[in-house]
Every structure is written in C-alpha cells, then in structure tokens.
C-alpha cells in the first residue's frame, strides 16, 4: 500500500493545468477589451504634442485635463462651439420621458397579454416579436413622412414617440416573459377577491415586478442614450442628443484631428451607460438570464 491519504472529510483543493488555462484565457480576454479604453483614457489626458509621438499605450508625461473641459464646453460641433454639454442635457430630456413611457407601456402590454387571454394574443405577440427583429432603418423614411404629416417631426415629442414605439416590442417581450413565470393562481385569487384590471396590476403584480423594472430601465437607459440614428433623424436641431454632437465634434474637425478632445468627448458620452452597468451589473445579469430561460 502507498502512503496516500485515506479519502475522508473535505476533498483537498487542487490547482491543475485546466484551471491555469481558464484563467489565462480570461486574462487575455479582459486585456483585449480593456486596451481600447486604456488608450482612450491615456490619450484624453495627453497634450497633442505628446499624442503625435504615437506612444498610445504610455502613461502621459504631462498630465492635462484641458481636453476634457474643451470637449465638455467649447469643442466645435459644426458652426457652434459649445462642446457636448448641450447634447448631454438634450439626451437627458429625451431619455427620461422615453424610458418611463416605454416601460409603462411595455409593462401594460405584457401584463394584458399574459393574464388577459385576449383573442389572438399569440398572433399579436408574434407580430411584436417580428417587429423586434426587423432592422429599424427600414421604418425610418415612412415614419418621417407620417411624423411630419401629424406635425411632430423635428421635435422632442417626435423623438420620444419614436423611442417608445421601437422600445415597445422588447419591453413587451421582457415583461411578458417575466409575468408568465408568475403563478396564474395569484391573478385568479385577486380576481376572486374582487380586484379589476388595474387594481391587480397596481396591488399585486407591480409590487412583485421590481427586478424586471430595473432590468427594463437598464436596457432602455443604455439603449436610448446610445442611440444615434433616431436622434439624428427625428429630434431636430434643437434637441440633438449627445451622440449626434459627439459625431459632429469628431467628424467636423478642420486640419489636424484633435484626438485628445475626441477621446474625452467619447468617454464623457459613454459615461452614463458605463455608470449604469457598474451600478447594476448584478441585476442586469439576473434579468437577462430570467428572460432567457423562460423563453
């Protein structure tokens, strides 16, 4: 007999080759995704003279925040030179009503489709799903025509309505899947108790919906904030969102490209979705998984 330990109690931890490979791959993958962010941050804190040297991975020799101030308040976006600041507030004004209304409407539709067996509910749902998969560029021209006909083209209302419409299919899908996982008996119990459509929604279903509302908020906030083409097309000059202004800053430079300002403006624009992910990653993963399993 060898002197190997008799197996008893807790199995000893082992660090084998397989695990080494897993960690190695994970490390490489993180580097791959982090390097662009690193380059952007470094560039944004360098002076143009230093950028010209082309050492994009190096730490700045002379640390400067000029580019950030410039990007925020004085970079030129075509004819005006007010930075991305204006766009930030425009984006906020577009974001808040769009997020609230699209979630409210999607939640309501999902609720009605789950608990009220509307005739043809499955057909309606299939149409909504198709809507989620057709590239929305297809709809842009007809929508421009319709919107200008009813007089909401080139306005805050217009862009909010567009976001609600395009968010509706995903929001409905999300809420319907979440509600389908709730026991129908709960809904029936409330019906026997005498509650109606909105009473059940408000007192029974909504109090249980916090996780999915958080997920929907994350999806909509990041989606609407990152939108470019809809904002460009529907919002009008007065309400151009931050992404549109960022594009104008980057593309309308005369002469030498101001990489420092471009990078700073990009990071400023991406800051809100980044913050949302960091603050709510746990919820996000949970919600997406919940939606995926209950397909």
């Amino acid at each position: 007999m060898t002197s190997a330990a008799v197996p008893q109690g807790r199995r000893p931890k082992s660090f084998d080759q397989g695990r080494l490979i897993v960690y190695g791959v994970l490390l490489l993958a993180s580097l791959f995704f982090l390097i662009p962010l690193w380059v952007m941050l470094m560039t944004a804190f360098k002076s143009m003279a230093e950028i010209r040297e082309g050492q994009i991975l190096y730490w700045p020799q002379h640390f400067t925040v000029d580019a950030w101030f410039k990007a925020w308040s004085s970079a030129c976006t075509g004819l005006t030179c007010d930075g991305v600041r204006v766009g930030f507030w425009n984006s906020v004004r577009i974001l808040i009503p769009s997020v609230i209304l699209s979630i409210a409407l999607g939640g309501l539709t999902g609720y009605a489709m789950t608990f009220y067996r509307v005739p043809g509910a499955n057909f309606l749902f299939a149409i909504l799903l198709i809507g989620a998969f057709i590239p929305y560029q297809v709809f842009i021209y007809p929508m421009v025509r319709v919107f200008s006909m009813i007089g909401i083209y080139d306005s805050l209302t217009g862009i909010v309505v567009v976001h609600i419409i395009f968010g509706l299919s995903l929001m409905t899908l999300l809420f319907r899947n979440y509600f389908s996982a709730l026991p129908i008996e709960l809904f029936n119990a409330a019906r026997v108790d005498g509650a109606g459509f909105f009473t059940i929604l408000r007192h029974v279903i909504l109090p249980m919906s916090a996780p999915i509302i958080i997920v929907a908020t994350i999806l909509q906030v990041t989606g609407i904030w990152n939108d470019f083409i809809l904002g460009l097309t529907f919002a009008g000059r007065a309400n151009r969102p931050m992404t549109v202004l960022l594009n104008n800053i980057v593309n309308s430079t005369q002469g030498e490209a101001a990489y420092d300002v471009d990078m700073a403006a990009t990071i400023l624009t991406a800051l809100l979705p980044l913050a949302v992910y960091f603050a709510s990653g746990r919820w996000f993963v949970r919600g997406v998984a919940a939606g995926a399993v209950k397909g």
């Binding site: 026991p183 029936n188 005498g194």
Partner: protein, 360 residues
Amino acid sequence: MSAVSVRDIGVEFGGLAVIENLSIDIREGEFIVLLGPSGCGKSTLLNGIAGLLDVSRGQIWIGGKNVTWTEPKDRGIGMVFQSYSLYPRMSVEENLSFGLRIAGTPKTEVAARVGRAAKMLHLEPLLRRKPSELSGGQRQRVAIGRALVRNCDVFLFDEPLSNLDAKLRNELRIEIKKLHQGIGNTMIYVTHDQVEALTLADRIAVMKSGVIQQFASPRDIYHKPANLFVAGFIGSPAMNMIEGSIAKSGGAVVFQCQASVVDLSRYEFSRPAPTGTVVLGVRPEHIGLGPAPTSQSGGRGKVTLIEPMGGETVVWTEFAGRPLVIKTDGEVDFALGDTIDFHFDPARASVFDAASDERV
C-alpha cells in the same frame, strides 16, 4: 340559499371539449369532494363554478341565482388554491383584508372580520408577517382565511393540501373539517387524494375524462363502487379484480373462474346477473386468513410477496391463477413460500359486467 347547481355545462379549450353535458346538484351546507386522476376535469369544473373559466354551454346556479355570466367576485364564493397564492408583498393582515379594502368596506368592519378569521385559524401572532416568513401550513391557513373574511356562501378548494408534507396535510385536513362543522358553509373541494376525499366529504363525485362516474357518500363509493374505474381508483392497495363468468349451480348463482367457484347467492344484485364475462372485485381487507367458514368462499395459495406497513401487512398470494392481495393484521408473521388459507364474504364483494364495466 347557497346551494350550487351545475346544469348541463360544457367547457372547451381551443375547440377541445374537456367537459360535456355535466350536471351536479350540491345541497346547501354540503361538503363535496371532486375526486379523480389528473386531467379528469375536476379543476376545470371548479374553475367553471368559480367563474375563472368561461363555460361554453349550460348554466351555473349559486344560492338560487344564475351566475353563469357573473364575475367571480359577485358569485359569493371564496377560493383556496394549491399554491397558496398569497400576495407576496403584503403582510398576512393585508392579505386577509385585501378583498374588503378594495371593495371599500369601512375600516372597523375590516378589522373585525380579519380579527375573527385570524382567531378561527390561529393566525393572530402572524398578522404582521410576510408570506415568505410563514411555513406551508400557515400559508394555506392564511389562504383559507382570505376566503373566510369575505363572508362568502360557498368555499372552493383547489387541491389545497397537495403542496404540504404528509404530517401537515393530516393536521390541516382536520382543521378544514372542523371549520366546515363550525361554519356550515357549502364547500367544494378538488383533490386527487382519496384519503382526503373519504375523510372530508359528505358526498364524493368521482370523475374521469370530464364525466362524473359516481356521486355518492364515501361509504357507498368505497363499498358499492358504481363501475370498475371507481372500484380501482379508490382503495389502497387496490381492489382485487378477478375475471370469470356467472353460472347456475344447483339453483344458486355462482361465480366461476378456472377451478374456483364462489357462491353469490348472498350477493345483492342490482340488476339481473349478466351471462357474459364478469369481474369479481374483493377489497384486500375483506379477505380473512384461515379456512373458509360455511357461507363464505375461500382458497389456498402460496405467499409471493410481503409488504409490512407497521399496523398492517399486505400479503400477495394467488387465487385462480391470478395475484391476490390480502391486507391483514401487522402482527401476523409470514415467510415467502408459505401456503396460506384465505376466505372472503361474497356479500361484501362487488360484481361488474365486464362488457359495460358497470356494477351489477
């Protein structure tokens, strides 16, 4: 005035008829159990009575009113579900009072009724808790309380004990029975558990494929099953079914199966004995050990399997070439291969026509 009458209803799911032409009359204050295997339509019938499901045909009357098109809340019913279905974000008290609050009942009245129900169901120390902080049994008591608070005429139970463990199930079963004795409301109770059905019901409706097979007292259901399905569904271990034929022997009607003959002259036929194949049904506990006294029938066989169950022992042997199950006292000692004598009283047996499955 809280009798329930279901008249000739039909229920369809997407064109598929689950229930066709079903009628059942329930007297005021009766405790009715709808019993059957899963998919037999018992829950569908209950949901139809509750109004959670639209019937495609027929009428439903509760308390002398035609409620066929009435919303669940206006039918004077309270319902208890299998999954408790308590509102998870409300406290026990809020759960109990929800229906009253949304109906705009005055606060003092709400408090009084909640207090009464809580007292009746021993929920007073739990009123501030959330459902997630309760055990399964406590949750189901809250669910019953929710029906109680609404002062409804008819209580509907949809497999209320199925999610509980065996011990709690027994306790709560007794509580439900006491509750019925205390308040005397009409109760309709769906279950697939025959013990619940037999212990709780004034009358049991045994269902299969959307059709009521027999609607009778637990005693009749058990001792005089109307057909082979009821006979086989009720009782554990299941009734022994022996196929054979009816013959006349010296003026007496006898049951014949291979070499064995059972004298049926003391059996009460409900209709003339059929001439074709019949099935003789004998309950395992109606079979005694030892040689048959006169007036009883019996046989002898080898022990093939023994299932000790504590208080009783189930012994498998053979009769007329078929397995025969005998339920006997737990203290009797057997060994596999023993030869035993057994006997049973034909008057307590059941005879079914094999062609129609009906009791004769």
